[in-house]
């Protein structure tokens, strides 16, 4: 019973497979580093539309920063994880590990 009360809550913004993968990918970048939208899209194997939807949800939560700029005449979009997003991902993985421990899963 006590174990149930101690179970952490999972961040609903990250707790969806597609967004989890977005955040996990961006988390490998250094602080302040950005990834271009097409590169992220290709890396995750998502369609542009699908990725855009998830990115805007993450942006609304303040977890990612989306920078739109121009290189010459071509518009380019860069995506990066905010400090808040990084922290949220850290908390999320901590919570998942806690869940695993609580369920007596493999170490």
């Amino acid at each position: 019973m006590t174990a149930h009360q101690e179970l952490p809550e999972l961040d609903p913004v990250i707790h969806a497979q597609a967004r989890l993968r977005v955040v996990a990918a961006l988390n490998t970048l250094g602080d302040g580093d950005e990834l271009a939208f097409p590169a992220l899209k290709e890396l995750l194997g998502m369609t542009a539309g699908n990725l855009s939807v998830h990115l805007s949800k993450l942006e609304d939560a303040g977890y990612v920063r989306i920078t739109k700029t121009h290189r010459g005449r071509t518009p380019v979009t860069y995506v990066s994880l905010t400090k808040r997003g990084r922290l949220a991902f850290e908390e999320y993985t901590k919570a998942i590990r806690a869940l695993l421990d609580a369920s007596g899963g493999i170490t």
């Binding site: 597609a18 996990a24 890396l43 998942i96 899963g105």
Partner: protein
């Protein structure tokens, strides 16, 4: 894979995170197999040749012809200086790289090269060549495969 609602269990989730991390690192930082294995292969071949040329106790197993770089010194000592210094530079560069990119595995590779190099220089040219071929040449090949498996 992009189903919004399909959230796997905790074990599966951790595996997913790890897979994504590995795939991203491989893509952005390059394949570890290409990063370490070519050096390992080169050292394995080159230092095995040195080892066969000089042997462990002065008896040569398979002499090979080679240029004389430091004419003031006997060939064995000249070779040991060149080989020892070269590996020391490699060690320092790996340690510096590991420190700059905060990659402890790269830093450890540098420490490992420095340790084997130092031991080899103390033991003499034959041992230096043997240890470098096996522990550094072979070691880097094994490390690249291990890093690739782990991602």
């Amino acid at each position: 894979m992009v189903d919004d609602d399909a959230v796997p269990g905790p074990e599966e989730t951790l595996r997913l995170i790890e897979e994504q991390r590995a795939a991203t690192v491989r893509r952005l930082k390059g394949d570890p197999l290409l990063f370490y294995a070519p050096w390992g292969t080169a050292w394995l071949i080159g230092f095995t040749a040195f080892f066969l040329h000089y042997g462990l106790d002065g008896r040569r197993y398979a002499p090979i012809s080679q240029g004389q770089a430091l004419p003031q010194l006997p060939p064995a000592e000249a070779t040991l200086i060149w080989a020892g210094m070269s590996m020391l530079v490699v060690a320092v560069l790996y340690m510096a790289g590991g420190a700059i990119w905060l990659d402890w595995r790269m830093f450890f590779a540098g420490v490992w090269v420095a340790a084997v190099d130092t031991l080899g220089v103390l033991l003499g040219i034959g041992w230096h060549a043997l240890l470098t071929a096996v522990l550094l040449g072979g070691g880097f090949i094994v490390m690249s495969l291990w890093l690739r498996r782990r991602g």
